[in-house]
């Protein structure tokens, strides 16, 4: 059986590797100076999708929502073998919380027709909320399997997956279509293919409404066959399709800041400065004196 898999990816500031250049003078982080990266667990989601396509056949479609620069995660997806990519980008989408994001993504997913699976990363490193996956599943009326560390089986009409739960694992089966959120434990994502980097490094988002995937059919007049896959079949050049609010027919009062129930009341930047610790020399004498002090205070037994 061939599988149509949708992967939802997010471009995020690289909060895991903060260097001196991204610090303000007051010891807070300059968020604007952080490099933008492919959210790590979304890469795991893409990898699971690509592996299933390799074993079952089908198509992997990657959708992201964000500013125009977010097309970079779609190029990165194409470098790894995605078949089809869509950038959801428009002013009214800006400032969305997780609920408004899930609504906009649901409207985009509905456009592309029948699908078997939706994969998201479990959570994004900028907010760590893990909310958009379940919220989207509800909007689309799909069963969800969150925190998936292994996909065991996809057979006729169902998926079996193992998820991490407190203190162990649980294996569950859901009918297709279903939404899964994938953790970093699931796989090691493949690196970009140099051949695909050459093919897509200049790819840019182009507005195409309404949805039309005929360019992915090698027989179609609009298709541009750019390579032959390892089974000898022609591969059509993918596009980065740009969709605005009109393309997905989303309601303006449900997207972006307007569609978001939550508001950020206050943000306090955390100062990363040394405080009043008593410094101990890293020598045998220093360490011995410290152990003695902690023992005298009955902190060490």
């Amino acid at each position: 059986m061939s599988l149509r898999i949708v992967v939802l990816a997010k471009q995020v500031p690289d909060t895991q590797n903060i260097t001196g250049q991204a610090m303000n003078e007051d010891g807070t982080v300059n968020r604007a100076a952080l490099p933008a990266v492919f959210n790590p667990e979304d890469l795991n989601a893409l990898e699971e999708a690509l592996r299933l396509r390799e074993s079952h056949g089908g198509r992997v479609t990657v959708i992201t929502m964000g500013p125009p620069a977010a097309s970079q995660v779609l190029r990165e997806s194409l470098y790894r073998g995605a078949d089809e990519t869509i950038l959801l980008s428009d002013g009214p989408f800006a400032g969305a919380d997780t609920l408004a994001t899930s609504y906009a993504l649901a409207m985009a997913v509905r456009r592309i027709g029948p699908y078997d699976l939706i994969f998201c990363g479990r959570q994004a490193i900028d907010g760590d909320t893990a909310q958009v996956g379940p919220q989207l599943a509800e909007k689309l009326g799909l069963p969800q399997i969150t925190c998936v560390s292994r996909i065991d089986l996809v057979d006729d009409g169902s998926i079996t997956a193992t998820r991490s739960i407190e203190g162990g694992f649980e294996t569950v089966r859901a009918p297709l279509p279903a939404l899964l959120t994938i953790t970093g434990e699931a796989n090691d994502p493949r690196p970009p293919s140099s051949r695909l980097v050459m093919t897509y490094k200049h790819a840019d988002a182009e507005l195409h409404r309404p949805y039309d995937d005929s360019y992915l059919d090698p027989e179609d007049a609009g298709a541009e066959v750019c390579m032959i896959d390892r089974h000898g079949r022609p591969v059509c050049r993918a596009r980065i399709v740009l969709w605005d609010i009109e393309a997905v027919e989303a309601r303006r009062d449900q997207v972006g800041l307007r569609g978001s129930p939550t508001r950020v009341k206050k943000i306090t930047s955390v100062q990363l400065f040394p405080g009043e610790a008593m410094m101990v020399e890293p020598t045998d004498e220093g360490v011995t004196a410290l152990v003695r002090e902690l023992t005298e205070e009955h902190i060490l037994g």
């Binding site: 609920l99 760590d128 379940p134 739960i165 694992f169 939550t262 306090t268 040394p274 405080g275 008593m278």
Partner: protein, 340 residues
């Protein structure tokens, strides 16, 4: 659910693990009690499962005024959709002001689904909850729930509100609030909730579940030795464990070390792991992100060992050693063994 008239109850979803109420749910009942006192309202506990009614008394002792019990054979084991349907239905009927969930795998699976059904706000992984006001050009808001959490890799602390939508919902990590002392004099009422769900809500089946006994008791440990990215390798963690064993403590880890696969997730300390308050906390090769500090800053004594003198961990430490943990830790082990 846009009504903000009158103050509804403060509710806590009670997670049932192996027939017991999860600790985080009891901690939340304790906090809900305080929030409800400030709002002059009452506390409701949501108890779902099969043969769970006997747990209701303990929830009343922990702080609930009412326990809404959906006790039905179809509600065990936990499944997202049936739970989300039952709870969102009950929320629609009784219009609580606030609903809190533990930020466990279950809570984080369930709460967003309910928020999406009700189209209300939800804040993940709060490290504090308070009541406060808010004003905009259009109107003044009183008695909102301030949902306080680190974001952006812990580099900012954000206060989130949901001014116009009810209920206000948040997930909170285990260990953030103190476990309430059970009060056997408290009285409350048990409200049975009928369960009638269509078969399509049960499309997901649990095939097997393997629970390992929790071998690591971070919350109960009086000494914790935590390794971070500076440990450098899986083999490097042997040194962390050796120091922990020598001092009679338990090995902890930062998210970076867990994500790198050097040690299991059950050892993780911080906002996305366990929150701890040991007598002595030794952080080795830990830079000290806010999320990590949120999980350990209340330790009685903190010793930080790191090569970078500007690492933020030193700002919460009582003792600091600037040096390579691979050299310093063997010295501590020697000094400890030779003191006797």
């Amino acid at each position: 659910m846009a009504s903000t008239d009158g103050i509804g109850e403060v509710w806590v979803f009670v997670q049932v693990d192996n027939g017991c109420a999860a600790e985080v749910s009891l901690e939340l009942l304790g906090r809900a009690r305080e929030l409800a006192a400030e709002l002059r309202t009452t506390v409701g506990a949501l108890l779902l499962g099969s043969r769970v009614t006997s747990l209701a008394e303990g929830l009343i002792q922990a702080g609930a005024d009412s326990v809404y019990v959906a006790d039905d054979g179809s509600l065990a084991p936990y499944l997202t959709q049936p739970y989300a349907r039952v709870i969102s239905q009950l929320i629609r009927e009784r219009a609580p002001e606030i609903v809190l969930y533990g930020a466990t795998t279950t809570g984080r699976d369930l709460a967003p689904r309910i928020a999406s059904i009700l189209r209300t706000g939800l804040t993940a992984d709060c490290t504090d909850l308070r009541i406060g006001s808010h004003s905009t050009k259009e109107r003044e808001y009183e008695q909102l729930l301030y949902q306080i959490r680190p974001a952006f890799g812990g580099n900012i602390i954000a206060t989130i509100i949901s001014p116009d939508h009810r209920p206000q919902m948040a997930t909170v990590r285990e260990g953030v609030f103190r476990l309430p002392v059970p009060d056997s004099r408290r009285r409350g009422k048990i409200v049975p909730v009928p369960v009638a769900l269509p078969a399509e809500e049960f499309s997901v089946q649990v095939i097997s579940r393997s629970l390992e006994e929790k071998k690591v008791d971070l919350k109960g440990a009086s000494i914790i030795v935590t390794g971070g990215a500076g440990v450098g390798s899986k083999d490097g963690f042997a040194l962390i464990r050796e120091l922990a064993d020598t001092l009679g403590g338990v090995a902890g880890a930062t998210r970076a070390a867990v994500d790198a696969g050097w040690i299991g997730h059950e050892h993780q300390i911080g906002q996305t792991g366990t929150t701890v308050r040991p007598k002595l906390y030794i952080a080795a090769g830990v830079s000290g992100s806010v999320q990590h500090r949120a999980g350990m800053a209340e330790s009685a004594r903190i010793l930080a060992i790191d090569t970078d003198p500007h690492a933020p961990i030193f700002s919460v430490a009582h003792y600091g050693i600037v040096g390579d943990l691979h050299e310093v830790i063997p010295r501590i082990i020697r000094a400890y063994r030779s003191k006797a």
